[in-house]
């Protein structure tokens, strides 16, 4: 397994090997699915859309509906305007969405298609029916990562819809970040239990975790409603979870509608969730019900009860920056030592933040934004770890180096559960604790000689 990977690290400047990220459009597509009655549309070659749909399908094991402008060589010469017009015509007639959310690709970006004008023209020409919407965002694949694409499409929702309707309401906006439907559902539950009115966007719950009822629905019942997106401009405040995935929408709302905002870490782990709840208290004056404090206490109970299995263990973590930041903090709070931390998404903030988190706990942490799994694997070869945390691609490293492995982040292609059970919030923390313990204890069980095989752990 991964036998060609040498231990010696050769510094690379040009060659990416085994990436820990993918390109913007897939993130935009995913965000679009978080709008009710929306058909995401990929403005580029057919392959982009096919790849994104396939990849998201493998992750969710759910239908991922999206259309494409199906560029051919001609479009790459003359621009994709005609393709988009034809696409919108076909889409509204055949698939009847309420909204089409267009994202660009490296092809249409390189060509330089002017989406705002194209959409405006389509509207003028009656290609977009009355009461229907087309929004867009620019997602050049050669900038940022899938997280950037998610962030851009989320910001586009604000850009196209947010309106300030006068007096600020009680409602708060929550931008949940590039997380699972289960996570969005859990964030809604937490905010709801505090008795706070909220608009959460995007919202893929009830879209990408839809039931089997022998009935296919092109547009499942979930997703943020356009009415609600309009109202975001009148909310009291925006809480954006995850700087990389959610800050864009918040700042735009502030610029457009003067909705103030706080950017928080994704509420993964005990402290980050605490900060989320504290922020909710702070901005609304509402107190969490005892049930939330109890859930929190159960997390701490597991932490204190099982600390011997966590304490001092070395961990390698990779994934998307917002996830990895919160996860790294959680690991530190468990007494673990995150020694190698990688995200594929570029961003100096990531490295600075991680170093801050592990300060005093790990002396010379290996931290890299815009890194890749080949590097991570080499780091691990040079300094082995007790646990690897990351997406499905991590399993190759885990197998090569025989390391317990916890699947976390995007994508998870080889197990189910991530879309149904949250990793955010206190419940999510419980799940993560269980997953990590299972991995560590299974390993202890596997490696113990008969005489040290424990009944009680």
């Amino acid at each position: 397994m991964l036998n060609m990977t040498p231990k010696e690290i050769f510094e690379r400047k040009a060659l990416r090997i085994n990436p820990a990220k993918t390109c913007q459009p897939i993130g935009a597509l995913y965000a679009s699915l978080g709008i009710h009655n929306c058909l995401p549309h990929s403005h580029g070659s057919q392959g982009c859309c096919a790849y994104h749909r396939s990849h998201l399908t493998r992750h969710y094991k759910e239908p991922i509906m999206a259309s494409t402008s199906s560029f051919t060589e001609g479009s790459s010469v003359f621009g994709g305007g005609a393709n988009l017009r034809q696409a919108l015509k076909t889409i509204f007639q055949v698939y009847d969405p309420e909204i089409v959310a267009v994202h660009t690709t490296c092809l249409s970006e390189t060509i330089g298609d002017d989406l705002p004008s194209l959409i405006k023209k389509a509207r003028e020409d009656g290609i977009i029916p009355e009461g229907k919407f087309v929004i867009h965002t620019n997602t050049p694949s050669y900038v940022g990562s899938h997280v950037t694409g998610f962030s851009n499409m989320t910001a586009a929702m604000v850009k196209y819809f947010a309106k300030k309707n006068g007096a600020s309401k009680d409602t708060i906006n929550v931008v949940p970040g590039y997380v699972e439907p289960s996570d969005m559902r859990e964030i809604k539950r937490l905010v709801g239990q505090m008795g706070i009115k909220y608009i959460l966007f995007p919202d893929t719950s009830d879209v990408l975790d839809s039931p089997q009822r022998a009935r296919f629905s092109m547009y499942p019942k979930g997703g943020v409603k356009i009415e609600d997106l309009k109202d975001t401009g009148s909310s009291k405040i925006t809480l954006s979870l995850g700087k990389f995935a959610s800050e864009g929408a918040a700042t735009l709302l502030d610029q457009m509608c003067e909705v103030p905002y706080k950017v928080l870490d994704l509420p993964i782990g005990i402290a980050a969730t605490d900060r989320f709840i504290e922020a909710l208290i702070e901005v609304t004056g509402k107190e969490p019900p005892e049930s939330i404090t109890d859930e929190r206490g159960r997390v701490v109970d597991i932490m204190t009860d099982m600390l011997q299995y966590f304490h001092g263990k070395k961990v390698a973590v990779f994934g998307d920056p917002d996830q990895v930041i919160s996860m790294t903090e959680f690991l530190v709070h468990l007494g673990m030592k995150p020694v190698h931390i990688v995200t594929g998404t570029p961003g100096k903030y990531f490295e600075r933040r991680i170093k801050e988190i592990v300060k005093g706990v790990v002396d010379n942490p290996n931290v890299k934004a815009f890194g890749d799994l080949f590097l991570l694997h080499q780091w691990i070869k040079n300094e082995p770890v007790d646990l690897l945390i990351g997406n499905t691609y991590g399993k190759y490293i885990a197998r090569a180096e025989d390391i317990p492995f916890v699947r976390f982040g995007f994508p998870i292609l080889d197990r189910i559960g991530h879309s149904y059970f949250p990793t955010v919030g206190y419940r999510g923390a419980m799940r993560l604790l269980e997953k990590m313990l299972d991995a560590l204890l299974d390993r202890q069980d596997r490696d113990a000689p008969d005489s040290k095989f424990e009944l009680v752990m």
Binding site: L15, M65, Q93, T110
Partner: protein, 543 residues
Amino acid sequence: MTAVIEEKRRDIDFDIEDVVENIIRVYPTKVAKKRRKHIVVRDPSEPQEIEANVRTVPGIITQRGCCFAGCKGVVIGPIVDMIHIVHGPIGCSYYSWMTRRNQGVPREDGHYYLEYCFSTDMQEDNIIFGGEKKLRAAIREAYEIFKPKAISIHATCPVGLIGDDIHTVAKEMSKELGIDIVAFSCEGYRGVSQSAGHHIANNGLFEHIVGKDDIELDGYTVNCLGEYNIGGDAWEIERILDRCGIKVASTFSGNGSYTEYRRAHMANVNLVQCHRSINYMAEMMETKFGIPWIKVNFIGVKATSKSLRKLAAFFEDDALTEQIEKVIEEEERAAEEAIAPYRERLEGKTAFLFVGGSRAHHYQDLFRDLGMKTIVAGYEFAHRDDYEGRDVLPYIKVDADSRNIPELDVEPDPERFKPRKDPEKLKKLKEMGIVDTYEGMMKDMGSGTLVVDDISHFELEYLMKELKPDIVCSGIKDKYVIQKMGVPSKQLHNYDYSGPFAGYKGAVNFAKEIDMLINNPSWSFAKAPWEASPLIKGALIIE
């Protein structure tokens, strides 16, 4: 227990033409006109034409991918001992990383890169200022770290547009490093589907790698063309051929090896499995090296036996023929015995098949082995010859989208051309349907069945509602759409992470899996009881 379906299956005599017309009616007029030509209600009494290999209408939710997917994803990616560098932004390389399930094993020299993903991960400044420099640096780094025998370079969409000359980079770096480096201009927008990429990949392989190493091969040897070793298919085929006394010299391109391709021209004959993706290679090798090709189908028990008998007919060796018949006899018996219990539960069930450029044809044979009927079939990226047979080739119009895919100018190699049969014999074998010929999928489909090229999501959903198939075979993008309708779906690109399905043992695997998919009790729970039926009082009490 069978799949839960909302209404009763239609009577067998209902008018399929009506169904087609109803589908078409939904499209905007121009689109409807186009789509109508892609749908054929089979009438075996007359020759039928189908539109294929033309642009998908923008906005249509299609199964198709792109040229890059066909070149790097399908044909070149599976070669295990080369480093395949994707030149472009990260996505294309990322998405084609281990996702097709082309299985492979390292050879003795250890070079094995299937688990790796290489990309130049182009950034904005590379797009603005050009990416050649980064590409060169990436190749050097790859060489520095891995010392590979050969490298391929694959262009993604922006590369052609910004004018990076990857072929010159390949040539110069090849010289600098002393290894083969082959560039493929397989930008996603070329052609109308993956098909363009197959052609480009065939060209590159043929021009730069095949036939460079004249090592004599012993015994009866074949190349397996258009076999991608999904789920280990190639290994099952190898096992069977091995038993017959025939060696596989190389496979294009499942578990493929650069080293083996260099001597592929030394084999006796080429076996063509996936006609669409590899017929270029078969033709070019015949022209240049004199190797005839045999269209085979190792999907299905009977189909496998038939393919083996073609080989017997080709080699004309009594001992070999006898051994082949012995193998057929033994393997067929074992397979059919193993299939029998599944067949009992599957007999009479119906299937839709939408996959590839040959599989929708191949798997009909296998379904027939199970007593099942394929009532709708179609290809994702085929050409007319894949539907109608190669006789139609001279009549296919080359449109603007296909014209840009280069056709290589191939001549017999002055030193290496060796005819395997005298021309008369070859002609006779061709007339017998043994070599150099393929009759296409449609001929094998009965009256009233439907052929749909490049089926759209809408058509699929509509046809499922109307025709109530027991199973739909398609790809990952459709799988959960189909299943959400309460109908099981078998992925025939990646075999649902299972396989092999080729050969005799593969047929048994397939039978088992189709039975499992259709007859697993899970489907019966799709409706909650309080939705499905009124409660029966008292049934709940256990006392």
